[in-house]
């Protein structure tokens, strides 16, 4: 399934897109291709330009420089109401003076459908988002989750080429959000429309997306699949932003084309492949290695392993029920690192001050150099 998407034609092409607000440089040379039918996320902290980028695609903001193509058409000078995009707003922007059905059918005025056809389309759109029979309700009588579904139905009823979602789940409570994440994903597969989601929630982006563009300060730091972003971040910043990543000071030398030798504090010497240097070689930069908490484990007394072993002390721990997050300070390292362990039968939670043997793999290392 992923393979067909990988070869799908680009539906949105961004070429060196720039956006200035006065002196403020909001978008700095964004170039990217978003493919037909994929669930694409723009992920980044607030102020990184992700919403601005979404709004330029929607046509609410002009480009200061660069070009934007949707389905092969240059969008320069095309106003928002003439673009083949529809948007789900962060506030949902449900028209308060209209009923649910009038909201959903708002965009159908310009179509030449008969009244009965329109009503049927509205009902079908409501059914698609699980709101059958809600058409007659007043918009203000809806809950947050229902408003969101109305906003979705209203945008999808026009069968846009691209559906834009501006932090659609941020106003919902945790339980509702988890449910809507699954539903959005299912809906996207069902309708086959390209979805572009703006979010600051890395977990949400990982769960829902086919590909993610991580943005910092108006630039795309990395554009990749969720797995590659998590396992092979191109910079410490990306690694820190997505999940938890431990960083250790390191010294690396290139042995040959396929091997890189790394000497990491606390872990020792290791040989890694070029794919473990996703950000490329930048001579002169402070070198470090990154390693994810779940790729390491603490060995219990008597436990043996064929993995590499480092030693340290448990300095602190956080108990989450299913998991325990240990803060382990490796010998010869200043700052403790986080190691996550599943709480299995026969694996009692370790106490503070316990001497710990830490098992790790060279394959889990990411080198930033």
């Amino acid at each position: 399934m992923k393979d067909t998407r990988a070869t799908a034609r680009p539906i949105i092409t961004l070429e060196a897109v720039e956006k200035y607000y006065g002196d403020y440089h909001a978008l700095r040379g964004i170039s990217a291709e978003i493919r037909q039918g994929e669930f694409f996320s723009l992920l980044g902290p607030s102020g990184c330009g992700k919403t601005t980028l979404l709004r330029t695609i929607a046509g609410f903001e002009d480009l200061s420089a660069g070009r934007l193509f949707i389905d092969g058409q240059d969008m320069a000078g095309v106003p928002a109401n003439k673009r083949p995009t529809n948007m789900v707003f962060q506030s949902y922007a449900i028209f308060p003076h209209l009923s649910v059905a009038e909201n959903v059918g708002f965009g159908l005025r310009r179509t030449r459908l008969s009244k009965t056809d329109k009503a049927a389309r509205v009902e079908a759109a409501l059914a698609m988002v699980g709101l059958s029979g809600y058409g007659g309700r007043a918009a203000h009588a809806l809950s947050g989750g229902q408003r969101q579904r109305v906003a979705l139905a209203r945008a999808l009823i026009l069968e846009p080429t691209v559906l834009l979602l501006d932090e659609p789940l941020s106003a919902l409570d945790k339980k509702m959000r988890d449910q809507m994440q699954g539903e959005l994903r299912r809906l996207q597969r069902q309708v086959g429309i390209t979805f572009i989601l703006v979010t600051h929630d890395q977990e949400e982006a990982l769960i829902m997306s086919d590909r993610i563009a991580v943005m910092f300060e108006g630039q795309i730091a990395q554009l990749d699949t969720p797995q590659m972003l998590y396992r092979r971040p191109v910079s410490r910043k990306v690694g820190e932003f997505i999940g938890v990543m431990n960083f250790l000071p390191a010294r690396a030398t290139v042995a040959d084309e396929t091997h890189i030798e790394v000497e990491a504090a606390g872990l020792g010497r290791a040989v890694i492949g070029p794919d473990q240097l996703p950000g490329g070689w930048h001579p002169g930069q402070t070198q470090s290695v990154g390693i994810r908490p779940e790729t390491m484990s603490i060995l219990y007394p008597g436990e043996t392993t064929d993995r590499r072993v480092a030693t340290g002390v448990v300095e602190d721990l956080s108990y989450y029920g299913d998991m325990t997050y240990y803060e382990v300070r490796l010998d010869g390292v200043e700052r403790p690192m986080t190691i996550s362990m599943k709480n299995l039968v026969g694996r009692p939670v370790l106490e503070r001050g316990t001497e710990a043997r830490v098992a790790w793999d060279a394959r889990s290392l990411v080198l930033f150099a």
């Binding site: 506030s91 922007a93 708002f106």
Partner: protein, 295 residues
């Protein structure tokens, strides 16, 4: 705690404190509003018998007021002038409120609203006299148009008639109309406009389908605020209205002070109030309809 216990006896319970609090304004409202109003209504059912007042209850005044063409015409004219003032005021106020709400940068809006209220810094009488100077036979308006060669002789239809009353009142009530409309426009979530554009509507259709319906409560409020006081306006028609611009309030004054027929004047006053109430109720009903489905 101890203060409350030792407080005045009457202020012990919360309810008593509440009554004490509203007692003064209540007395004020009773003495200055309810009592005179009751007196007017009572007077309207009495009749004038040369120099004395006949206190037997009668509908004679109402019969006369509704059958005499002079009163009927005056009531109707007041209604028409007031409607014209309201229409002129609200129609000119809307673009101003719209401009301030949508095109003035947020940090300058307070300044604009402040500037709009500047006409209130001078007395209303002075403003009415200024309109006389502007609209008069040799006034600013006519002299300018003559000087520019647009007209050959001064326009006479702009002063001492109903037009002058409409112009003067529309100017006087403009801020009262601008403010409620401005507030209603400010309350509209801007993303609603974007949503409308996103769903394929242009600027004009977005205005008709989103902005105007959502601004309606403000428009209705503006209509009421302008309509209710203007229908009973007395000063403006007297100063700039001329014989054709006289309104019902002028007749009420004549009945009370010149013709010494207080019961007739009272009946006309009650009829005017009834008319205002009827129109106001229609708009309140309309407003409720527009408010349906708002948060």
């Amino acid at each position: 705690m101890s203060d409350r216990i030792r407080g005045p006896r009457i202020g012990r319970s919360e309810a008593a404190q509440g009554y004490l609090l509203v007692a003064t304004p209540l007395a004020y409202a009773l003495l200055l509003l309810a009592v005179p109003l009751g007196a007017i209504v009572l007077f309207s059912f009495w009749s004038q018998d040369y120099l004395t007042i006949d206190t037997t209850l009668t509908l004679k005044n109402y019969r006369e007021a509704l059958s005499d063409p002079l009163y009927r015409q005056l009531l109707l004219r007041s209604l028409m002038i007031s409607a014209a003032v309201t229409a002129a005021t609200v129609l000119t106020a809307f673009p101003i409120a719209y401009y301030v709400s949508f095109y003035v940068p947020p940090e300058r809006k307070a300044m604009w609203i402040f500037l709009i209220t500047i006409p209130f810094w001078t007395s209303y009488l002075i403003r009415v006299f200024l309109w006389k100077v502007i609209l008069g036979y040799n006034g600013v308006f006519n002299t300018t148009l003559l000087g520019l060669g647009i007209i050959d002789e001064p326009l006479t239809f702009i002063l001492y008639n109903a037009n002058a009353v409409v112009i003067t009142l529309a100017h006087a009530y403009a801020p009262f109309a601008i403010l409620p409309i401005f507030v209603a426009l400010e309350k509209i979530d801007r993303s609603l406009h974007e949503a409308s554009r996103d769903l394929g509507e242009g600027y004009l259709s977005t205005f008709w389908r989103v902005t105007l319906p959502l601004a309606m409560p403000g428009v209705v409020a503006a209509v009421l605020i302008v309509f209710i006081p203007t229908i009973g306006d007395y000063v403006t028609p007297m100063l700039v209205g001329g014989p054709d611009g006289r309104m019902i309030a002028n007749m009420i004054q004549t009945q009370f002070l010149r013709l010494n027929n207080a019961p007739m004047g009272a009946a006309l006053a009650v009829l005017t109030m009834a008319m205002v109430s009827a129109v106001a109720l229609v708009f309140v009903f309309l407003n409720r309809r527009f408010l349906r489905g708002r948060q």
